[in-house]
């Protein structure tokens, strides 16, 4: 049965006085994958380390697993599986020994350990790699071993700290899909830290967007994208243009909701400043006649300097509270 994690009034102040995390309450439901998304320095890693037990919250904060207070428990007593950006595989052990480490520490019988290691190698598609040395593996293989090692002990919660960031783009995408399949199969409560919004949207049952030590918004990928609670969320997740419309004031609009047509057919005309061909679509930067910038996208490229008519549907304007 998956674990429910609750944080109450958890804040983190570093010894030098900087506030990494403002007091926050958070509940992570059993079996869900919560993604902590935000720019560097937003507090997402600090929050993960609080849950892991690698850092303690400030006085008054409380962390509970399934209602049991674990605030005072060190990481080794929390049964968390951790996957690090730098893999953190033990160079003095081969692949199988790395995966077996947690099982040996808790004293599993050799036969049971061997069986579990074999199962983990199968699960992460690493069969036949058991005897390999760590420095003989590619980045993707290393991260799979790290995942197998963390999952082997059947942790109550799986914590992933930017696990795909060190990989190149193609590999990152394929491993992301593999990870999604694995998390779905394991049904373990997991917390995934990333600064990559595509990763967050692909993996998160819910996404918590953090900025300057606060959770700006928490919700499904659709919520975050279509109904951003704050201006920061609107601008951090996906692309957005700020436009001052006569009689309406400032509006926020996503590029895919900017409709382009022949000059004179829309609400107003604009000039194409830059057109970047991206294959499946072209990203357009428009310059309005009063000098504002507006992002749009089209199926077919439009030459820079062309005049176009712009139609905006107010139904798609984003309306963050703050």
């Amino acid at each position: 049965m998956a674990t429910r994690i609750t944080l109450e009034r958890c804040a983190k102040t570093f010894p030098d006085g900087t506030r990494a995390l403002e007091p926050l309450d958070l509940a992570i439901e059993p079996g869900e994958c919560l993604v902590l998304l935000g720019p560097s320095g937003c507090g997402k890693t600090t929050l993960l380390r609080l849950i892991a037990g690698l850092a303690a919250p400030d006085e008054g904060g409380r962390i509970a697993f399934d209602g049991t207070d674990v605030t005072a428990r060190p990481i080794e007593a929390r049964r968390v599986g951790m996957v690090f950006q730098s893999y953190a595989l033990f160079p003095n052990m081969n692949v199988a020994q790395n995966i077996a480490y947690g099982l040996k520490i808790r004293g599993d019988a050799p036969a049971a350990t061997a069986a579990r290691v074999a199962e983990m190698l199968r699960l992460t598609q690493l069969e036949g790699f058991g005897e390999r040395r760590i420095d003989e593996l590619s980045g993707g293989q290393k991260q799979r071993v790290a995942l197998a090692r963390a999952v082997a002990i059947a942790p109550s919660v799986l914590l992933l700290d930017e696990p795909l960031t060190a990989l190149d783009a193609k590999l990152r995408e394929s491993l992301r899909i593999e990870l999604k399949r694995l998390l779905g199969a394991l049904k373990v409560t997991s917390v995934f830290v990333t600064h990559d919004q595509a990763e967050a949207m692909a993996l998160g049952d819910r996404i918590a967007v953090l900025s300057r030590g606060r959770i700006e918004q928490i919700g499904s990928a659709r919520d975050i994208y279509a109904r951003p609670a704050t201006r920061f969320v609107a601008e951090f997740v996906g692309q957005v243009s700020r436009l001052n419309l006569p009689g309406r004031g400032e509006v926020l609009v996503r590029p895919e909701h900017v409709e382009l047509g022949a000059p004179g057919t829309g609400s107003f005309d604009a000039t194409v400043a830059v057109c970047t061909f991206l294959g499946n679509l072209s990203a357009i930067e428009l310059c309005t006649d009063d000098g504002q910038t507006l992002l749009a996208e089209t199926r077919v490229p439009v030459a820079a300097g062309s005049r176009v008519g712009v139609t905006l549907d107010p139904a798609y304007f984003l309306e963050p509270r703050s």
Binding site: A52, E76, G81, F84, A88, L89, F90, P91, N92, I153
Partner: protein, 269 residues
């Protein structure tokens, strides 16, 4: 571009060979003196192991004491130096840096001064002063930084904090982490440090000369004694014995260093 490359290419090896000869010939002559019947007559007086035998008879004890002190020094530097190296690698506090500096002081200071300081501090404890353990203390002071820094260097080259966090997340407490993650990954540094410690301890003269008593003479102290009071052939034979003990250690150290540079664990491990 025509440089005087050919000329230089010719001079360089000649210079190297000359330098090597300059260093090796005296040692070779000393060895030869140790196995020559009468050095003043020369090799034609015949070769003999008589002098080596005399050394064995006269100075056997110093050889055993040197081995004993070296091994004991190694044991102490392992027990103290490995954890110390770990602390040096893990902590960046001001105090630890100060400790690291202090640790190297006995290496920078003339050995005689270190020896004198020890005599002043502990000379009044008569049994301690008279025992070989007094020499051990001096040797540990002198060799500890070599073990600690060698271990620290290897541990700093891997991402140890994250490795330890990973081990902790898998349920390992501090002691388990130390023996399953820290020590195995420090192995190269420990081995290099161990060879260094034994070699330095075997050859140490300055501190030992201040600390020894007539009953606690190590090999180098015995050497000085033989040079001063025995015939040249015996002193030379004694040198030969010392070389036989120390050269294998030096070779092992070289071999280890060459191997270490090839299989240094990578930072991303």
């Amino acid at each position: 571009m025509r440089m005087k490359r050919p000329a230089f290419a010719l001079i360089a090896p000649v210079l190297t060979v000359l330098t090597c000869l300059f260093l090796i010939v005296p040692i070779g002559m000393s060895i030869l003196a140790g196995v020559t019947e009468n050095y003043f007559v020369g090799v034609r007086s015949g070769l003999t192991l008589r002098w080596v035998g005399e050394v064995w008879g006269l100075y056997r004890e110093t050889i055993f004491l040197s081995l004993q002190v070296a091994l004991a020094t190694l044991a102490v530097t392992l027990v103290v130096g490995v954890p110390l190296g770990y602390v040096l690698a893990r902590s960046d506090s001001r105090w630890v840096r100060a400790l690291e500096e202090a640790l190297v002081l006995p290496v920078a200071m003339p050995g005689l001064a270190t020896g004198l300081a020890l005599v002043l501090a502990f000379g009044t404890f008569r049994d301690f002063r008279a025992s070989w353990v007094f020499i051990l203390v001096g040797h540990v002071l002198f060799t500890l930084p070599f073990m600690a820094r060698s271990v620290a260097a290897v541990l700093s080259s891997i991402n140890l904090p994250v490795l330890e966090e990973a081990a902790a997340s898998l349920g390992a407490g501090f002691v388990q982490r130390f023996f399953t993650i820290v020590v195995p990954n420090a192995k190269g540094g420990v081995l290099a440090g161990a060879l260094m410690v034994v070699t330095l301890s075997m050859g140490e003269f300055n501190i030992t000369w201040m600390l020894h008593t007539p009953l606690t003479k190590t090999l180098p102290v015995g050497l000085a004694d033989s040079y001063a009071s025995m015939r040249l052939e015996i002193g030379s034979a004694y040198t030969l014995v010392f070389l036989l003990m120390i050269v294998p250690l030096l070779i092992a150290m070289q071999w280890l260093a060459a191997r270490g540079t090839r299989t240094l664990p990578s930072k991303r491990g």
